[in-house]
């Protein structure tokens, strides 16, 4: 018996051959990988939740770290995309939740519940992102809502000298004036806004374009100007009689209530509209003892308000009059006395995919109302904006403007998607854009790409549910409906930290390597190697391309590819 330098053993006579195939020598000489025509690619995909997130959060990574109790690390991930997680955990409609692949198993992850608990924990931890620095430009951000705040925050983190101008005395914009405290407690909002300003944002309140703030002068004083003024000009109802006393604008009503002013007179209220502003008005007035009906021209399912809000409003006693088109405000002695409406039925679908409301002839009816709240949507308030900057109801910076290249716009005023999360995403992208111009360490625009995940979305058919023990979602519930009508206490309950972490642990981690070792353990050729950046790699001198790793990866984070493809 002879041993070759490469470890092989050669039998000199057949008498040396053992009864069974066995060797004490290494079998490394047998490069089984030479046979392969396919090999695994260990690559992360974009999880469906992250793909759906308007703020561009790396949902899976932040949830994974939180589930492991690594609160501060989870915080760094979430804050690098969204400075307001305790806020969005409460007010975002969470399209991520609808996209969650676990919804096709035993129930989608309660991402809002987890985000809210993580956000709250970060406030107790007083976690701040480390400053990135490098910038030193003077930047003016006009508008202190979620878009402006987010942009100012990331610009200040990058080292720029940022002044944030707000119409109200305190920063927050619509978060403060438009979202009632029973949905977003003021202490939470204050703490998150304070943290957003902490990197050195100078706030100047009571300054609005056309009201003490001149855009040209601002341009002269700054290296760049970012407009994030939102949309808060009321849309009129456009029916006869709406000039009567007792017809008010919804957003203005919420702003007044926020400032602590009394609600306008009127015991019987009809709120016109089906968006969040309409529901917020209805529920705020309900909490002040009024009898409230929401009239909406389409069906309850078509309301643009978040489903939870509609459900909670109805629970509290708000009446909903769906498929009802306002025709006329009736008044007595110059004061509203009722709203005449026409019954509607669903017609052809419009561009939004919702059925257009068609009036039913002869079906007019009247709702008695001594207060009519119009919440039929908001538009851009163009006051103080040069006319050349407004196009199609949104701010658009023309290429040939005098300050082009140094004037930017983001958020709702620039035609953003309308949710807080959209505004946050827009603010961060704007900050990155400004840093590209002015220098300074920009925030990551695409967090998934930054950690090497590809743009393809991890679909359910790539998930292997058998690897995940059944674990139905936890329920958080809401406060009792009756006491809710008596005050501003928060309606939606939150998780305590252990429940939130347990719920977070239900995350499948779609398309994301978690280092679970299943590929490593199941590889029949021990050709999956640990410790590569991002998790694993194939030892191509051993891998036969059988595909067990790709087939069995619980999260669809391994793909079998043609060699050389």
């Amino acid at each position: 018996m002879k041993r070759l330098p490469d470890g092989r053993v050669v039998f000199e006579t057949l008498a040396d051959v053992p009864p069974v195939a066995m060797t004490y020598a290494s079998t490394a000489w047998n490069r089984t990988g030479d046979w392969r025509s396919r090999e695994p690619a260990f690559r992360d995909l974009t999880p469906p939740c992250a793909a759906a997130c308007p703020a561009g959060q790396d949902v899976v990574d932040q949830i994974r770290l939180f589930a492991q109790g690594r609160v501060r690390e989870a915080g760094e991930v979430i804050l690098s995309a969204n400075p307001f997680p305790a806020t969005t955990g409460r007010v975002c409609p969470h399209p991520c939740d609808a996209a969650c692949n676990r919804g096709r198993m035993d129930g989608a992850l309660d991402i809002p519940g987890v985000e809210r608990a993580l956000g709250d924990a970060l406030l107790s931890e007083r976690l701040d992102l480390p400053a990135r620095r490098g910038g030193q430009a003077r930047v003016a951000v006009v508008g202190a809502g979620p878009a402006g705040l987010t942009a100012a925050h990331f610009l200040a983190l990058a080292g720029h000298r940022v002044t944030l101008y707000g119409r109200e005395d305190r920063p927050g914009g619509l978060l403060r004036t438009g979202i009632p405290p029973y949905r977003l407690p003021r202490a939470v909002l204050d703490a998150e806004v304070e943290r957003a300003l902490r990197p050195g944002v100078r706030f100047e309140g009571g300054r609005a374009l056309g009201d003490g703030l001149d855009l040209a002068r601002l341009g002269g004083e700054s290296d760049a100007v970012l407009l994030a003024i939102g949309r808060h000009a009321p849309r009129r109802l456009g029916v006869p009689g709406e000039e009567a006393r007792g017809v008010v604008d919804g957003l203005a009503l919420l702003e007044a209530l926020h400032r602590g002013e009394p609600a306008p007179d009127g015991d019987r209220v009809v709120v016109v509209g089906g968006g969040n502003t309409a529901l917020d008005c209805a529920r705020s007035l309900l909490r002040r003892g009024r009898k409230v009906t929401v009239a909406y021209r389409r069906g309850r399912e078509e309301m643009p308000a978040f489903g939870d809000e509609v459900e909670e409003a109805v629970e509290e006693g708000v009446a909903v009059e769906a498929w009802a088109i306002p025709l006329e405000v009736r008044s007595r002695g110059g004061r509203a006395s009722g709203l005449r409406l026409s019954r509607a039925r669903p017609g052809e679908k419009d561009a939004s995919g919702r059925p257009r409301p068609e009036p039913v002839p002869g079906s007019d009816f009247e709702l008695p109302a001594d207060l009519v709240v119009v919440a039929a949507g908001e538009s851009l308030d163009a006051a103080g904006l040069p006319s050349g900057l407004v196009q199609g109801g949104a701010v658009a910076i023309p290429a040939d403007s005098q300050i082009a290249g140094r004037l930017f716009a983001c958020g709702d005023c620039a035609g953003g998607g309308g949710t807080v999360a959209h505004a946050i995403g827009a603010g961060r992208r704007a900050a990155a854009e400004l840093c590209a111009l002015l220098g300074g360490d920009a925030p990551a625009v695409d967090l998934l790409a930054a950690r090497g995940a590809g743009p393809a979305v991890a679909a359910f058919d790539g998930i292997r549910p058998a690897w995940f023990p059944p674990a139905p979602p936890r329920s958080r519930g809401r406060a009792e409906a009756a006491p809710r009508r008596l005050g501003d206490a928060e309606v939606r309950l939150g998780f305590d930290a252990p429940s939130a972490m347990a719920e977070a642990a239900r995350c499948l981690g779609c398309g994301t390597c978690t280092g679970c070792d299943i590929c490593y353990q199941l590889c029949p050729d021990r050709a999956v190697l640990r410790g590569a950046p991002g998790g694993y790699r194939a030892d191509t001198s051993r891998c036969k391309g059988c595909g067990v790793c790709a087939e069995e990866c619980p999260r669809g984070a391994v793909e079998l590819c043609e060699v050389g493809a």
Binding site: L14, P19, V20, A21, M22, T23, Y24, T27, N30
Partner: protein, 382 residues
């Protein structure tokens, strides 16, 4: 001291497994085998058996688990029947090629379709060429003794051993059976220590790629181990007789002295054939019986010695190699082929799917054997 117990054939298997000091049992239930593992579970609960039971989802996995346990040096047992044995087939080869001392009790069951849970030998004979030792049992006592001896043989030869018993006639029929104490048989079963036993102190790779010449050499060694088994079975039988006063080795020759016509049978049919021999002897006919206990290794020399003096041989098969003939018939005829003065060999097929083989069936076979021998077996279906 050994004690007598009223046991079915399946219970005898379980007691024998317990008395052999088995450490790992992995099995999947299938009628008519199931009461073997049920009895083993019960014996385990009572502390009679110390075997760890590994529940599995199929017979393929059962044998795979046994292969792993055996490689690690555990004394290992499994039991199955019919379709279950067929499902094990790939690993039946593996167990022999890896030279592992696994013992398997197969309760003969007819192969489906049509579904039939009764006895015939086509399931075990389909595993003929896998390298396993096969011992066929005639009665409950032989089941008890063969299972214990199987562990002794397996460990000595590094070969897996299949103990075969007829469904219901044997598996579910109770007899008084002498059960030895563990101490009475422990010395017969050596510890299995081979270089290919897994040893954490001495890591090795098993089952790897082997070039043709070396592969052929390994297969030759399996064949050589079977030749060794011929004498090992006889030696063990002799020791057993010395210790317990009963039992046979490769074959049992019953009233063959001066016999003109000799029946060859296996399994419980051999018991019926004994009764027929007694009846014919009483009538003055010189009939005898050769029971084949060891089918692999095939006892060519013992059969030649037993059958050459006869004037004719009638082989009874509870099986059929379709398109050829009864399988024992083929092999007996081959054993005598070319020998000067060898008697003609007649083949008969009876009792498939558990059909009764009665004394008159066997007498009919001997009647046919007075005629010219045919190349194929005669079906005794009337």
């Amino acid at each position: 001291m050994a004690s007598d117990r009223l046991l079915t054939g399946n219970e005898a298997v379980a007691w024998a497994v317990a008395r052999s000091g088995v450490q790992v049992v992995a099995a999947y239930p299938i009628t008519p085998q199931t009461t073997i593992i049920e009895t083993l579970a019960s014996l385990g609960q009572k502390g009679v058996s110390r075997a760890e039971f590994v529940p599995v989802e199929s017979e393929h996995s059962a044998l795979a688990a046994c292969i792993g346990a055996a490689h690690a040096g555990a004394r290992t047992f499994t039991a199955t029947s019919g379709q279950g044995l067929a499902l094990m087939h790939e690993l039946i080869h593996w167990a022999a090629g890896a030279r592992l001392p696994i013992v398997l009790a197969n309760v003969n069951r007819a192969m489906a379709p049509g579904w039939n849970i009764w006895t015939d030998q086509n399931d075990s004979l389909s595993q003929r060429d896998t390298g396993w030792v096969q011992l066929y049992c005639e009665d409950g006592q032989e089941v008890m003794d063969s299972v214990v001896q199987a562990f002794a043989l397996a460990a000595r030869l590094s070969l897996p051993v299949m103990v075969v018993l007829d469904a219901f006639f044997l598996s579910h029929t109770a007899e008084a059976i002498s059960v030895p104490e563990e101490a009475e048989v422990a010395d017969l079963i050596p510890a299995w220590k081979t270089p290919w036993r897994i040893d954490l102190e001495k890591p090795k790779a098993l089952g790897s790629l082997v070039p043709s010449a070396e592969y052929e050499q390994m297969r030759r060694q399996v064949d050589a181990a079977h030749r060794e088994a011929l004498s090992a079975i006889e030696d063990l039988a002799a020791t057993w007789r010395g210790r317990f006063g009963r039992g046979v080795g490769l074959v049992d020759r019953y009233r063959c002295e001066g016999a003109d016509e000799i029946l060859v049978a296996s399994g419980t049919a051999a018991s019926t054939a004994r009764a027929v021999v007694d009846t014919l002897r009483a009538r003055g006919r010189s009939a005898g019986l050769v029971k084949v206990r060891a089918f692999r290794p095939f006892p060519t020399a013992a059969l030649r010695q037993a059958l050459l003096p006869a004037r004719r041989v009638a082989v009874l098969d509870r099986n059929c190699s379709y398109g050829a003939s009864g399988i024992f018939f083929q092999e007996v005829r081959a054993a005598l082929c070319g020998l000067a003065g060898a008697p003609p060999v007649h083949g008969f097929i009876a009792g498939m799917g558990g059909r009764d083989i009665t004394p008159s069936t066997i007498e009919a076979a001997l009647g046919h054997a007075r005629g010219e021998p045919r190349p194929e077996s005669t079906w005794l279906t009337e």
